[in-house]
Amino acid sequence: MNEATIESLLFRAPSPAAPPELLQRLQAAITLQPAKSEMRIPRTGQRPFRRWFPTLAFGLVLVSCAVMFGVQLNWSAKLKQQNESLRVVAAGLPQLREQHAAWEKAVAQQQELEGLRRDNQELHQLQTEVARLTSLSAEVTRLREQNRRLAAAPVASNPSTGPSFFDQAQQQAERIQCVNNLKQLGLAMRIWEGDNHDKYPTSLAAMSNECSTVKILICPSDKSRQSNLSVSWADFNNDMSSYQYLAQPDDGDIAHPDRIMAICPIHHNYLLEDGSVQSIDPAKYHEVQKDGRLYLEPINSDSIQVPTPPTQGAQNQTIFMKSNGVMFLTPTNPDPNQ
């Protein structure tokens, strides 16, 4: 079957007949609505603005154009007038230029004059400053001369007067450091005694655990032993210390608080058993041995008051010499109940 045959048969497809009563039903069901044109609202007499809008818009545009034309005419007239005035002014332009050049020249001269005045004023200030600095320089020279003279004066007048102020201060500092070393040494001995059944150590080197460093065993004024400051505790022995150790190992209780425990032979600082350190003038005191122990005793009087050095633990204490010749430390304000 070819395509033409198929199309021919399709075009000749049977058409089913409608029921006869369908036409009547369809015709009876016709409900027509009024046409749109009949429902329109007549324009006449309605919305006058809308009706006259094109005319009004055109008139408005015309009026706007007229106004703009008038404004432009006015501007043109003003510009012409301005142009004329400028032409008149331009006629005297060369003269104005000359005047302007003269004015500029005068202004430049005035500025140059102002600059010269400022330079002159600055020059005066510099001269004043130079004079002041010159006087200061002379003063400095004079002070230097005076300083040099004062520095040379003690040596020139009396060369055997002793060490200078700085040397004295250095010696005082070393003395205080020596007292401090002995104080720490006494504290270490006390700790060692507490840990060893009330017995004192046999030597200074035995207190390695109680002493923080070997530096406290070397007097800062002992220049021959300053090299021992770097020695470790393992290599340290009693000969390396600046201080003479006098405590006896079997005597640890504080039965003789004024007994001498250690001595600095350089500063004549004495560490006593009670932990105090006494700085003694060797011209007034000397060491006395009693019962195998050393004590301090005045040379000339039986009971003198010894000024105590400003060391911790010995403050507010005074050394009194008793009749038996032994020095004891007693508080300055003793407790009346004791």
């Binding site: 079957m1 049977p14 089913p16 409608a18 015709q27 016709i30 027509l32 609505q33 046409a35």
Partner: protein, 187 residues
């Protein structure tokens, strides 16, 4: 008929009842046949025809003659059928007996019994087409609408209608060829 239908529709728009009645007389057979072929029974076809014309009178005021009245009316019928089909979800393939009966009572003379049998099978194969191609065949061949009007009713381009018809003819030709080969084998 087209110009006459346009004149009648214009008169009906102005409220002329006789013109509307004449329009019904002119088109109700075609619309009923179209819907009868699609829906598969007389009762539904009658209902759909009535709905189509009721919708026509409702929308007549908005008819602006962008297409012919026939095309516009077929468009309404087509959408009425789509609504009905969407609601019913029916399989609208026609039974063989129906097409056989229609072919038998058709006033169009067939040349011989074999052609009648062939036409009967052809209409049955048309119902096996998918919905888009089937609508194109119904409107163009069964309802004798031109291609452009068929496209307007379906809301697609004319080229699309041509493509669908070409696909439908290819399908029908292949089915016919297959059927002929089977007959020859039997012989």
């Amino acid at each position: 008929m087209s110009d006459y239908a346009e004149i009648l529709s214009e008169r009906a728009q102005r409220g002329d009842f006789s013109a509307a009645s004449e329009l019904v007389s002119l088109f109700y057979q075609r619309i009923f046949a179209y819907l009868r072929r699609l829906s598969g029974n007389d009762q539904d076809a009658e209902d759909l025809t009535q709905k189509t014309f009721a919708k026509t009178w409702q929308s007549l005021a908005s008819y602006q003659r962008r297409s012919s009245f026939s095309t516009w009316l077929h468009g309404i019928a087509y959408h009425a059928y789509l609504d009905w089909r969407r609601q019913r979800k029916v399989n609208d393939a026609q039974s063989d007996e129906w097409w056989e009966a229609r072919a038998a009572e058709s006033p169009t003379p067939y040349e011989h019994a074999a052609e009648r049998e062939l036409a009967h099978q052809l209409y049955r194969w048309v119902d096996e087409l998918d919905e888009e191609k089937k609508q194109a065949v119904h409107l163009h061949y069964y309802q004798n609408l031109p291609l452009n009007e068929t496209a307007e009713v379906l809301g697609v381009a004319t080229s699309t209608v041509k493509y669908r018809l070409r696909e439908a003819l290819d399908f029908l030709r292949s089915r016919a060829a297959k059927s002929e080969s089977l007959i020859e084998r039997k012989i």
